[in-house]
């Protein structure tokens, strides 16, 4: 037990400024090759649209959102740049976790709260983020970070409201984190 704990403590992260420069270079590579930035929520939307089209095709044909989506995506929801990029994210994260010895099944939470509470809040947070990313046309990566890189006004607004709101609400959810 103590041996694993010691090992755990030694698994350090890379310098955040170095991480930032590397992430910036990845973002430049995306813009240089594909003419677009990084993203995450768009790939989750592809999965949802594909799932609905497969399981309930008649519902998809008769529902405004899916009709509008397929008009904009004639090749189908899964043949999208973001889907391939997100598959890469899963592989890349796994590789980093393997190299730095962080692969482990666990529910990570503050010792002051139960796993159950952590999971309830994770689901609630996910629902809000899923809905908000659709309303806001992209999440922290797609709208805020990638938008800022190309100086998009919308990107700066997204960034300000995502981080600003989380800051403003931090006090009310402090028990979950500190």
């Amino acid at each position: 037990m103590s041996a694993t704990e010691n090992k755990q403590k030694k698994t350090r992260y890379i310098n955040p400024y170095l991480g930032g420069v590397l992430l910036g270079l990845v973002l430049i590579a995306a813009n240089f090759t594909a003419g677009r930035g990084l993203g995450a929520s768009g790939a989750a939307k592809s999965v949802i649209v594909a799932a609905v089209e497969t399981t309930t095709p008649r519902h998809a044909e008769n529902t405004h959102f899916y009709k509008e989506y397929s008009e904009g995506h004639p090749n189908g929801p899964m043949k999208s740049w973001l889907v391939f990029q997100m598959l890469g994210v899963i592989v890349g994260s796994f590789l980093s976790g393997a190299i730095f010895n962080r692969l482990k099944f666990k529910v990570e939470h503050s010792p002051k709260i139960t796993s159950r509470r952590r999971i309830v809040f994770a689901v609630l947070g996910g629902i809000l983020f899923g809905f908000g990313s659709q309303l806001g046309r992209g999440c922290t990566s797609g709208s805020a970070l990638s938008g800022m890189a190309v100086l998009s006004l919308g990107g700066f607004i997204s960034m300000a409201f995502i981080f600003g709101t989380a800051f403003a609400l931090a006090y009310f959810f402090r028990k979950n984190w500190i």
Partner: protein, 196 residues
């Protein structure tokens, strides 16, 4: 020359292969910087760990500056690069809802996939929530379609909105970012905590 796909220098299939490789880089950097830990991510809102601030803004200014230089050298045509359109109301409301999701869930979509990849079960539940949220948006779309498409401002850039040159705006953002890094370093000393 760039974007390569716009000038047909690479095929659509190559573009997808590159998307996968870019994703590998994206995921690797996120995980190795510590974005697979919700406790580390949430730290930025309490000051005990400001890795999000440092990585996010360093990445933003690196990419801004890089794209600006590539464009100066005529290696990339920024007019062909996708800039997200700005719909003022939905961008603000979406940002507020996402911010609430961030402080409650401890992840954003990208970091939740990153964390789930190394075995974080709470991240898997967050992803489940993400799918539910997107499904709610899709199924209820007629209810908020009007709001979603209201106050369309086109695809303005910050420099355009401020009436300044791109380079001047980027310089300003770099100065602001350096100021925030200083605050971040100060906060980590003031609210020290073990690393998660």
């Amino acid at each position: 020359m760039g974007p390569l796909i716009s000038y047909n220098i690479i095929s659509q299939n190559t573009n997808f292969l590159l998307a996968f490789l870019i994703g590998v880089g994206f995921g690797f950097v996120l995980e190795s910087s510590g974005f697979s830990s919700s406790r580390k991510l949430a730290g930025v809102f309490y000051g005990y760990d400001t890795v999000v601030l440092k990585v996010f803004f360093t990445a933003a200014i690196t990419a801004m500056l890089g794209l600006l230089f590539l464009s100066l050298f005529n290696w990339i045509d920024l007019d062909l690069v996708y800039i997200n359109p700005t719909y003022l109301y939905s961008t603000i409301a979406g940002g507020i809802i996402m911010g609430a999701g961030f402080i409650m869930g401890g992840f954003c979509p990208g970091t939740s996939f990153c964390a789930a990849s190394i075995g974080k079960i709470d991240a898997l539940f967050f992803i489940g929530g993400l799918f539910i949220g997107i499904l709610i948006f899709a199924e209820g779309y007629p209810l908020w379609e009007g709001f979603y498409k209201a106050k369309y401002l086109g695809i303005p850039t910050l420099s355009h909105a401020l009436g300044l040159k791109d380079g001047v705006v980027v310089l300003g953002i770099i100065i602001v970012a350096l100021g925030m890094f200083w605050v971040g370093e100060w906060a980590e000393k003031k609210f020290p905590r073990e690393e998660y």
